[in-house]
Amino acid sequence: MSSVTQADPAKQAGSASPLTRRRPLGDRGFQILALASGLLVLVILVLIAVSTTQQSTDWFSKAGVKGIFSTDWDPATNHFGAMAFVYGTVITSVIAIIIAVPVSVAVALLLTEVVPRRWARPIVYLIDLLAVVPSVVWGLWGILVFAPWIQSSVYSHIASAVNGIPLLGSLFGPPVSGASFFTAGIILAVMITPIVTSLSREVIATVPVIDKEGAYALGATRWEMIRGAVWPHSQNGVVGAVLLGLGRAMGETIAAALVIGSSATVTSRLFATGYSMPAVIANQFPEAAGEWRAALIGMGVLLFALTIIVNLAARGIVERSTRRMRGA
């Protein structure tokens, strides 16, 4: 849509001059298609937000801000405070991210920069296979195998060791349960690691050889080269990968529902049982009615808002740091 093409629309159609030629049909067609699909996505998102919000107005209006963010969830007495679930979602996602991100980035760096290509390929294949394990399978394995094992051979030892120590005690002290915030965090970490690894690996693989050679030519070791050349280049892409993983961890329903313990509590003890937003929706929706139902749908709206806020915030941070580094 340059000024040249708009200068004289009457002349345009028949004109043979390459400068005033209409843009090819395919070009415009593609532009329209891209715009339309972009708008469609936006419209669908808005519709989802509107309809779910409508169905939950009952809760929003009755409970009010204070009620919504109270920790008191008791359908029997019509108390529907969402705080314990928000808390559980945030805590388990944070644990998942803290575990998954270093592992994913390290594996991605190893696979692209260290491991010889002929070994890297089968490893990549294996990791991608992990990504297709259904989440319910992770949940079942978590609750049947992993939770009992980690409770008896890890949690209980740690808990008795740190009991009474100021900060550690309040994080890792008793009570101890196999199904807990921490177990849910670990299972979520395992679930998001493949995708974060895969995406990070792709980003890291696009770092131009010439950038890496620039570092090597200064006598950098491989690790120094990674810090100097690979990391600044892939930082944003990796953050993007982490955001996708975070979104998945926050929204994960069935695996979390199985291993988190299903008790609506707010506690700093990570080995205690908890609850999360998607888990409570899945568990209680079938039997819910009236305000209870509205509260569960409202919880969905909150979760939606929460993921959007986290995403925007993270993107803002990335944006700011890139702008600084690109010098634009």
């Binding site: 920069e113 260290v114 010889p116 290509r117 131009p208 010439i210 950038d211 890496k212 050679e213 620039g214 570092a215 090597y216 030519a217 200064l218 006598g219 950098a220 070791t221 491989r222 690790w223 120094e224 100097g228 050349a229 600044p232 280049h233 600084r324 580094m325 690109r326 010098g327 634009a328």
Partner: protein
């Protein structure tokens, strides 16, 4: 990234005082004209492809040596053999002897990392890191363990001054190295290279993407730098070779039509004046008079 890369990993730390370390003088200025590299019968392979064959030459201290020759004749390949950059190319292999100040460059206990700290390289395409101008220049000293802020400031200023870039960037050291013009970016890369006080600077067509003024600036810079460093430069610009270099090596491609192979060879090596005014080989003569390539 197979064998050669493992090599890098195995020797991430500088070996204690190796022969290499002792050989290189700490005060940079050396004796002009003294041999610094001795290259004997060097061939370089990329997997099964022999890219250059049987190169023998002596490089002299505090001189500028130019590599000229047609495209594909192996100039870059040979240049990269001098600081073991070819180690990073999977399947690349160097045969023959290369001595740097008496130490075999490809010797068993020589770490390519230590080699590259002594023998820096400027690439054809400016490749500043995605970091600030300051951090670009400070990168080398930092990986060498320099943490002192004031010392780093000094090094950055000195290197940028020597690369004739200081005046243009002194007020925006914190802004990105990517926000520079091509010529500025190339001078930043030169500053980055000399910030680690190397002994030798290898330059692969450093001015090929630059306009005549920026090229002139870089040539002035090279003449200035040669007081302290030994420089090897690959160039397609024969005027440039005559303007800056003391010695010139002319490379060409031997084509074997039977096996359909093309191999780079060093045709003639001598003082720049001799190569351009009195070439001994007819191919050199054809090339420098512009009748070929």
């Amino acid at each position: 990234m197979e064998q050669s890369e493992q090599n890098v990993a195995a020797k991430t730390e500088l070996p204690k005082p190796t022969a290499l370390e002792q050989a290189a003088p700490q005060d940079v200025s050396g004796t002009p004209g003294r041999p610094i590299f001795d290259v004997r019968n060097v061939s370089v392979w990329y997997s099964a492809f022999k890219a250059v064959t049987d190169v023998s030459m002596t490089i002299h201290e505090n001189e500028i040596t130019a590599f000229i020759g047609s495209s594909g004749s192996g100039k870059t390949t040979v240049l990269r053999a001098f600081n073991r950059m070819n180690d990073l190319v999977p399947g690349a292999r160097v045969e023959g002897e290369m001595h740097y100040r008496g130490t075999p460059l490809y010797g068993k206990d020589v770490s390519p990392i230590a080699v590259r700290r002594r023998i820096g390289m400027v690439f054809q395409k400016p490749n500043p890191f995605r970091k600030s101008i300051y951090d670009n220049v400070a990168y080398g000293p930092r990986i060498n363990g320099e943490r002192n802020r004031r010392k780093l400031d000094e090094i950055v200023e000195r290197s940028l001054r020597r690369a004739a870039l200081w005046d243009e960037v002194k007020n925006r050291l914190k802004s990105s190295g990517l926000a520079l013009s091509g010529g500025q970016a190339q001078r930043l890369c030169i500053a980055r290279t000399i910030a680690v006080e190397p002994d030798v600077v290898l330059m692969d067509e450093p001015a090929s993407a630059l306009d005549p003024i920026a090229t002139g600036a870089i040539e002035d810079l090279m003449r200035e730098l040669k007081k302290q460093y030994t420089i090897i430069i690959v160039t397609h610009n024969m005027q440039q070779a005559t303007r800056v270099s003391d010695r010139t090596a002319f490379f060409s491609v031997l084509t074997d039509s039977k096996n359909d192979t093309r191999t780079g060879v060093l045709i003639e090596y001598g003082s720049t004046r001799q190569i351009f005014e009195d070439p001994q080989d007819s191919r050199t003569q054809a090339y420098v008079t512009g009748r070929m390539g």
